[in-house]
């Protein structure tokens, strides 16, 4: 079987990967022993995913080498990686809902054991290994999230993987399921499987990992022993000492109501349970209201419903006393709502259009971009000048406003979006994950701009998965779970651990997270 001489199942050395405008991985070293759970920690945008894509053959490194079981390998595609015994379970599952469990597992791997009895026996055996307790003939659409994840793991094991990359496997799980997953991983570890566990949840990492490698800003900053390291020390390694704190200092909250949402409901698609129920919230001028929650609990839908991109089934939305419940997205924007969407490439920018054309998006009906009138003439000169203002004020690093948005790095794109949405004196800014996937410098800049706008009396509805950002910027925090606001938290006193517990529906103690 595998050469027992090599100590490491996987060894990456000197991996460097550059993308336009950013070095995603800079001389990264990573050594994973056989039969261990090795955690890879880092903030969003630190380069974890890029590194794993390189290991899984989805991208080729510009420099550096990969060794598997002591042998140098070069992966041109994921199938090369699979042949070498490396499998990957993506954060977003890649399963066909309308096929059965067995069909999903066999799809594309029919050549190994056929699709008959031998394949069925192997699947049953692997189901025992990962603790999947459902009939393989059941359709995947009827499975819960935890079982789908097990199906994904079986998929890679069936293809012969001995080393499994798990990309943020706990992001979609509730605490009990996390516990069960960890039990499974421990059992499989003693069977000789190796795991690369990507996460930024430090308590989980310390609970499951045998060793930890920390990545910061594309560089490997070191390894840690989970038995001795504290979460605080890990966090410091992850963010470095120079990380700006998101803290807002003095309260600027006024009594003027900017946004009032009452009884907001959003029906699920085709009879599914409602996505949002009974949402009530108020944001005042000069106030930042943070919404905390595990992703997929309705935050995206809440924001899009307030923006009018989804039609609420009942409830009202009022901006500065004016009812906007039935207004279109453009009317809501015109009334003074700025919107920093969670996915800037999908919802915030026109990638192939120049920056000045992107300045017009969402403002096509208003000065300075529009001259108004029956034809809705656009003022391209003014749009260009105002884009130059944004570029200067928000420190968007670009040679000119004529380059397409796609040519900018993520952080600069985001600064452009934030700058645009703060134009024209909005009453309310809805910011969804405003610093996701941006570099530390841009993050500090965006935080500073949000703080300044707040001081000028802007109301901000902030949705973020980054608990430090939420606690640091918010004046009040509401916790969202399964489409409702379940708890309030005071950012002055709450800890990330307490917030995390409330987000998962466990009671407010830190132990419940793991």
């Amino acid at each position: 079987m595998a050469t027992s001489a090599a100590e490491f199942a996987v060894e990456l050395s000197g991996i460097t990967k550059r993308f336009p405008g950013v070095v995603a991985n800079d001389d990264i070293h990573l050594q994973v022993r056989r039969g261990e759970v090795h955690a890879l920690c880092g903030e969003n945008g630190a380069g974890k995913s890029t590194l794993m894509k390189i290991l899984y053959g989805m991208q080729q490194p510009d420099e550096g080498t990969i060794s598997v079981n002591g042998e140098h390998v070069r992966f041109r595609s994921p199938s090369d990686a699979i042949k070498a015994g490396i499998g990957m379970v993506h954060q977003h599952f890649m399963l066909a809902d309308n096929l059965t469990v067995a069909e999903n597992i066999l799809l594309g791997a029919e050549g190994l054991l056929g699709i008959g009895g031998a394949a069925r026996r192997r699947i049953a055996e692997l189901a025992g290994t990962v603790g999947l307790d459902v009939d393989p003939r059941v359709l995947v659409e009827r499975l819960g999230v935890a079982d789908r994840q097990r199906v994904e793991i079986i998929k890679v094991l069936y293809r012969g993987a001995r080393t499994v990359i798990l990309d943020e496997p706990t992001a979609v799980l509730v605490p009990q399921e996390v516990g069960e997953l960890f039990d499974t991983l421990r059992a499989m570890r003693s069977d000789g499987f190796t795991f690369l566990f990507i996460s930024h949840k430090l308590d989980e990492v310390r609970a499951i990992a045998d060793s930890i490698t920390v990545i910061r800003r594309g560089m490997s900053v070191g390894t840690a022993d989970p038995a001795s390291v504290t979460s605080r020390q890990l966090a410091e390694m992850m963010v470095g000492s120079e990380l700006p704190s998101p803290e807002t200092r003095d309260s600027t909250v006024t009594h003027r109501e900017a946004l009032r949402v009452e009884g907001l409901e959003l029906a699920g698609e085709s009879g599914a349970r409602p996505v949002l129920t009974g949402i009530d919230l108020v944001v005042r001028a000069g106030e930042v209201l943070g919404i905390a929650g595990v992703e997929g609990n309705g935050q995206t839908e809440l924001v899009e419903t307030i923006m009018g991109m989804r039609r609420a089934s009942s409830g009202t939305v009022a901006l500065a006393g004016r009812d906007l419940s039935h207004a279109s997205t453009l009317e809501r924007r015109e009334a003074g709502i700025g919107y920093v969407p969670e996915d800037r490439t999908r919802h915030g920018l026109l990638a192939s259009q120049p920056l000045w054309a992107n300045r017009m998006l969402g403002y096509q009906s208003r000065p300075p971009v529009s001259r108004g009138g029956f034809l809705g003439l656009l003022d391209r000169g003014a749009a260009r000048r105002d884009t130059e203002r944004i570029v200067a004020e928000f420190d968007v690093r670009t040679p000119s406003v004529d380059v397409p948005a796609a040519a900018l790095s993520g952080g600069n794109q985001q600064k452009l979006v934030v700058g645009r949405e703060l134009s024209g004196d909005p009453v309310l800014l809805i910011a969804s994950h405003p610093t996701r996937g941006v570099d530390v410098g841009a993050q500090a800049g965006i935080w500073e701009e949000l703080r300044r706008a707040r001081a000028r009396g802007l109301a901000v509805l902030l949705v973020s998965a980054d608990l430090d950002e939420l606690i640091g910027l918010s004046d009040r925090i509401k916790v969202m779970l399964r489409g409702t606001l379940v708890a309030d938290a005071d950012p002055a006193t709450v800890t990330p651990e307490e917030l995390g517990a409330a987000m998962t529906g466990a009671d407010g103690s830190a132990e419940a997270v793991v």
Binding site: P20, G21, V22, M307, M309, S328, T329, L330, E331, R332, R333, E334, Y339, P341, R346, H347, G348, L349, L350, A351, S352, Q353, A357, M360, L361, G362, Q364, S365, S370, L375, G376, L377, L378, R380, R397, T398, P399, V403, P404, A406, A407, L408, S409
Partner: protein, 361 residues
Amino acid sequence: MTRARTVLLPPALAIVFAALLCAVALLISGDSPVTALRVMVTQVGEGTTAVDIVNSGAIYYIAALAVAIGFQMKLFNIGIEGQYRLAACVAAIVGGALVLPPVVHTLVIIVVAAVVGAVWAGIAALLKAYRGVSEVISTIMLNFIATGLIAFLIRPDSFGVLQGNNISTAPIEPSGHFPGISFGSSGTLFGMVAVAVLLGLGYWFLLNRTRFGFELKASGESPTAATAGGVDARRMVIIALVLSGAVAGLVGLPELLGRDLAYTLTSPQGYGFTGIAVALLGRNHPLGIALGALLWAFLDKSALALDNVGVPREIVLIMQGSVVLSVVIAYEIVRRYELAAEQRRVAAQLRSAAAAEKVAS
């Protein structure tokens, strides 16, 4: 500099490539590419060819503009064919029935044609906006229905008149004609050529200077970003398809008002599909489409001239097909290359700027 390269290089490469392909085909079939080329070039100066090319080009231009309006937001209006034929037929019936003063008569016919085209495309628009029916499917089907409807409308029992063994609508009185510009023995330029030019200018203005054009392009580039930016997707689908149909309605008019003066069973067909090819060739740009339309018309005429000297006319079909295909591929390659180059350039400029900053501080 780079912009000119991005815009001009792909079509030039594509035409050269298509020409080479045709040369090879000619050599294989035993004909001389040089002769063929000479015949194609010299024919332009003979008889009415030059004027004919511009006249056909104008028709293709209008058809391609109609297609391009849809293309701007990734809508594929294959129904130009049905829209223009039905529009021309109804406009001919109305024009033949009315007695009006000169200019007004012509204007009424034009408006009727645009409205009929818009209504016919509007059916597909409503189906798409409210029922999610793909406009590709619905417009193809509407083409068939239009054919049947035309056959019904120009029956002698309906609005048709028997002319020898052909059926046609009642001829339009001279007051409804669109006067052309005569070049004597070199032919007569359709008056509608001017309308085609105006349409091109209007298209450019709409696209680049108005909110509607911006919303149209934004919807085409990223429907999700457009929605978040307050563009009403449903409204845009309806307006874009209806506008496309209205322009399509004018495609049959240059010949109807400038030459045929009645809609007949043998009125020309196929301009809608040519329009799709020309729009692709011109990359939806008003000038590009104009050049594409003229090239297409030139190749069409070449088929006749080549036939006269015994070179197979099918060579023109090869040329037309390969030029469209290679233009599409060439633009895509250049687009990807340019984007990557742009990203590298931005990164490089920022790096040197950052280095300069460090030195300065």
